[in-house]
């Protein structure tokens, strides 16, 4: 904006006043129509903006433990293409991930390793329990299998299926996006900064 260049002459005569006013008008009119910023300004709430950014760039931490991981891979590849929903960046490092997709049977031997990876993920983070095994132990009512990953970490979305089809995983991801859309992000950020 360039309005600061135009200053009103308060002590001059009438014609000078008129001239100055015309200059201001023309400059204001020029400033109001700036083709460079037209369409680039959006007015919104901070919550909505933050949630919009978060939900459309959910980077998954693929915790592939069994056959569900095959469907997870299919979801990532071109036929189903999870990148349409902003989640194509599978990072095998928990430090760069937003959502952990627990895909498969969690054995007791693996359980604490899954928990450790979850603990290494930075906030805000979400968890999808993909398939029957991750959700409830599935058909493995067994001495060796953890009966649902929700015993160890908070799960946001459970996906049924054995294994679920890629469409189901995408549906789960969209449900998670809806959930993120309703979060009070600024309140959470403030309370986090108060705690720390």
């Amino acid at each position: 904006m360039t309005t600061s260049k135009a200053s009103l002459n308060v002590s001059g005569d009438a014609s000078e006043d008129l001239n100055a006013a015309a200059v201001v008008r023309s400059e204001l009119a020029h400033a109001a129509y700036d083709s460079k910023i037209e369409g680039n300004v959006i007015i919104t709430r901070v919550d909505a903006a933050i949630n919009w950014m978060r939900k459309n760039s959910l980077w998954p931490m693929p915790m592939g433990l069994a056959c569900c991981a095959i469907e997870l891979m299919a979801t990532a590849s071109s036929r189903f293409d999870i990148s349409r929903f902003g989640s194509e960046v599978m990072r095998f490092s928990p430090r760069q991930s937003d959502v952990m997709i627990v895909a498969g049977t969690v054995t007791y031997k693996m359980a604490l390793a899954v928990k450790r990876v979850w603990d290494q993920m930075p906030e805000p983070k979400w968890c999808i329990a993909m398939g029957a095994c991750a959700s409830s132990g599935g058909m493995y009512r067994s001495y060796a299998v953890l009966q649902g990953i929700d015993q160890l970490l908070p799960v946001d979305v459970y996906i049924s299926g054995c294994p679920p089809r890629p469409e189901a995983l995408i549906e789960g991801l969209m449900k998670l996006q809806e959930k993120i859309d309703g979060e009070e992000s600024t309140v959470d950020l403030k309370s986090e900064s108060l705690v720390s």
């Binding site: 007791y108 009512r141 001495y143 953890l146």
Partner: protein
Amino acid sequence: MNTNQAAQTVSEKFEGSTVLEFRGEHTVTVALTDFRLVMEYCKNELGFDMLLDASSVDNSGDDPRFALVYELATLDDSVHLRVKTHIAECEEVPTVSDLWATSDWHEREIWDMMGIKFSGHPDLRRILMWEGYTYHPLRKEFPLAGKPSEMPDVAFTGEAPLEGGPFVTSAGAGSRVKAEPRAK
């Protein structure tokens, strides 16, 4: 040498061993005291170069309680022989991991799952469950649902909800509906 000849040779050489033939498969059951000698004989004299599998059975209530089953074969796959031996709960079995290296891990699995000890084994650690887990899950007295245990920073276990199970299919029940898995 065919399978039948191999089985007969073993049973003739070692007193007290029995041969069972079933659908072309031959099983030699030997006494535990002879077991190591039988295995050495099979490897060195009969040319069974390969150990296909080693497993164990819990005949809970019988005496002796456990059975060990070793599946031997020649490298060209022409001759197969199954060697069985029975052992009681307190006894140890001599290892054959120096004859067939593959039995190293098989015997570790038997120790882990069934709790049968092998004397002379170079590295008898658990292989599936973790060190510190106190049970042997494939024993008959161990419940399918498991038992709670806790090893800090290593692993924990809980009891699985069986909801009236375990669910068992009925083989030969006539119809698919009747054969469906049900709690028994």
